[in-house]
């Protein structure tokens, strides 16, 4: 084994040549490198630039028709549902999951709130609480299947989407509760639709709720241990577990919170459309994922900011309204959104190269 001794000596001599191993080498160069670093630190920067740019361009093209408090707040009202659901979707995607059942949970929760009030005559606030509880429970079921049974989130929520949607149609007997009936007998169900004006700007409770929700979640994700654990679990669950993070508890909290937020979205949906309809909100899945992806949250988990999702939802809202006011075919909106999705993921890949 003198060979081992020999190689040991070679190690020594090779190693003793360099003394500061931990010295930082700045391998990023030039403007592009700086930009890459900036985006790596602030992933919601890109959607913010796109949002501001889109508002400016439409403002220049359309003038005061677009650039008014009324139009601006109209956009907020139009994106409130997608914004709330996108907040739930963001949490799940940060843990490297995906939730295809968000839309179904939202609709089913709103149906529970409506039917419990009208079919059984339960006091409206209690019916609302039942709806919120059911949303949380479905979220818990998703979380348990993902965390304990170790099924892929895509499959779990694909199945849950079908199950919840079918239950929704079976339970509601495909029956819509009319807006006038709700207004007359259970106005609390439309609480999120309550409007108030400041100047020419019109806000609804739903809009305020969306903004408050995003800011509270942004705070929790950045400044609490729970938030750091969400990122760590999405980044590398095994490493998180070894560092002493309770991965199961973190995942359960994320899926349950997501279910609860979707149920709130269901309540807001009643405020937005006035009625309780089991067929509404069918696009919430795709729209929420679109907002999250355009918002710069990585589908691989652990990267991105929930503010980005708000920007993502607003970008879609600005494009939709702006192009409509320009008189363009609605298909142009979808075309542009499609381009944005692909561009956003390409940027994400580029940012992630910093770790390569």
């Amino acid at each position: 084994m003198s060979e081992a001794n020999q190689s040991a000596k070679e190690f020594e001599s090779a190693a003793s040549r360099t003394e500061t191993v931990a010295a930082f080498e700045d391998h990023r160069r030039g403007v592009l490198g700086r930009l890459q670093h900036l985006l790596h630190v602030n992933p919601s920067f890109v959607p913010l630039i796109v949002l501001v740019g889109a508002i400016l361009i439409f403002g220049l093209l359309l003038g005061s028709k677009f650039f008014s408090p009324f139009a601006m707040t109209l956009i907020l009202q139009q994106v409130q549902i997608v914004g709330i659901v996108a907040a739930a979707q963001s949490l799940i995607i940060l843990t490297a999951g995906i939730d295809l059942s968000v839309g179904a949970i939202m609709v089913f929760s709103s149906v529970i709130m409506g039917q419990f009030s009208f079919r059984y005559g339960i006091p409206v606030p209690i019916a609302v609480m039942c709806g919120l509880a059911v949303g949380t429970l479905i979220g818990a079921l998703n979380g348990w299947l993902v965390s304990r049974v170790k099924l892929p989130p895509f499959i779990v929520t694909l199945g849950m989407w079908q199950i919840v949607l079918a239950t929704n149609f079976l339970y509601s007997a495909n029956e819509t509760i009319r807006s006038q009936d709700i207004e007359a007998n259970a106005p609390f169900l439309q609480f999120f639709g309550t409007k108030f004006s400041i100047g020419g700007a019109t806000f609804t409770v739903g809009v305020i709720f969306m903004l408050a929700l995003i800011f509270v979640l942004a705070y929790a994700l950045k400044h609490t241990a729970w938030g750091r654990h969400v990122y760590a679990v999405g980044d590398d669950p095994e490493a998180a577990e070894l560092s002493g993070v309770n991965v199961h508890r973190t995942l359960m909290s994320v899926y349950m919170l997501s279910g609860l937020i979707c149920a709130f979205a269901g309540w807001a949906l009643i405020g937005r459309i006035g009625s309780v309809s089991p067929t509404s909100g069918q696009l919430a899945n795709i729209e929420s994922i679109t907002a999250v992806v355009i918002g710069g949250i990585s589908l691989f988990g652990g990267r991105g900011s929930i503010l980005g999702s708000l920007f993502g939802a607003l970008i879609v809202g600005v494009f939709t309204l702006g192009l409509r006011l320009l008189g363009a075919d609605a298909q142009w909106t979808f075309l542009l959104i499609g381009l944005l999705i692909i561009a956003a993921v390409a940027v994400d890949q580029w940012i992630r190269k910093v770790s390569g």
Partner: protein
């Protein structure tokens, strides 16, 4: 055996997986202030016995005493709460999070008063200050910023942060499972220096390694594991690397008294 109580003492530990006996009535001893290397061929059970000590597996028989007191760990978290830290080969860090976030992962400090108690806000300045101090103590503050993401560090720097994290929170001892296996020659060197720095602070270390030059460089004693049992414990000053390998593989009879 010296006069002081050993930090860890394992007596007659047995662990079976079905028909396979991974640990067969093995003893184990870690003394105050030493680096104990654990070597053994693949499948000899050296990982199993260390896992039994840190609560990652629960032994079927035998007892483990830490500083003379019997312990029953149910998970590595129990061990961690007693001041036992583990450094893994595969770098147990969250790459996208910062150095400070990673050092405090799972044991974050919250602010005092209303913001901490009700808003559950993290005390970042305190965590950053502590992390910076610990890295400086071990001569690792050549990193640019404590808020730098782990993924912007080299493999050696990452392992340096892992060692600093372990050294910062270990009050009893540190287990290092192949800490240099994933690293290049230069980076291994730095980590070996760190290991010696940590010992100089009086924290004993269990070092599991395949790398004989590394083992012979830093270890005070070497625990040779063979066929699920402690074959012997040798002093690296009395034996050569080829002797150690011969004991490990069974090519040579171990010394009779078996203690160093």
């Amino acid at each position: 055996m010296s006069g002081t109580t050993p930090v860890v003492q394992g007596r007659g530990i047995v662990k079976r997986y079905g028909h396979v006996t991974a640990i067969d009535h093995s003893d184990f001893e870690l003394r105050q202030g030493e680096i104990l290397a654990v070597i053994g061929d693949n499948g000899a059970g050296k990982s199993s016995i260390v896992k039994a000590i840190c609560g990652a597996t629960i032994p079927d028989e035998g007892e483990i005493l830490i500083e003379g007191k019997k312990v029953n760990f149910n998970s590595p978290i129990d061990a961690r709460n007693m001041g036992i830290e583990i450094v893994y080969q595969q770098l147990a860090m969250s790459p996208a999070l910062s150095i400070a976030d990673n050092m405090f992962m799972g044991r974050e400090i919250r602010k005092k008063g209303f913001m901490g108690k009700y808003m559950r806000q993290l005390d970042r300045p305190a965590m950053e200050k502590f992390a910076r101090e610990k890295l400086t103590e071990l001569g690792l503050m050549t990193v640019q910023s404590i808020n730098q993401a782990i993924e912007t560090l080299s493999g050696g720097q990452r392992q340096g942060v892992a060692v600093a994290r372990a050294a910062a929170f270990a009050t009893k001892f540190i287990i290092m499972d192949e800490p240099t296996a994933a690293l290049g020659v230069k980076e291994s060197r730095k980590v070996l220096e760190l290991i010696q720095d940590v010992r100089a602070r009086g924290i004993p270390i269990i070092l599991i390694s395949h790398n004989m030059p590394h083992v012979f460089e830093v270890a005070d004693r070497i625990h040779v594991h063979r066929l699920g049992n402690r074959l012997c414990t040798i002093d690296p000053k009395d034996y050569t690397m080829s002797d150690a390998v011969a004991f490990m593989t069974g090519a040579k009879e171990p010394p009779k008294e078996g203690t160093a």
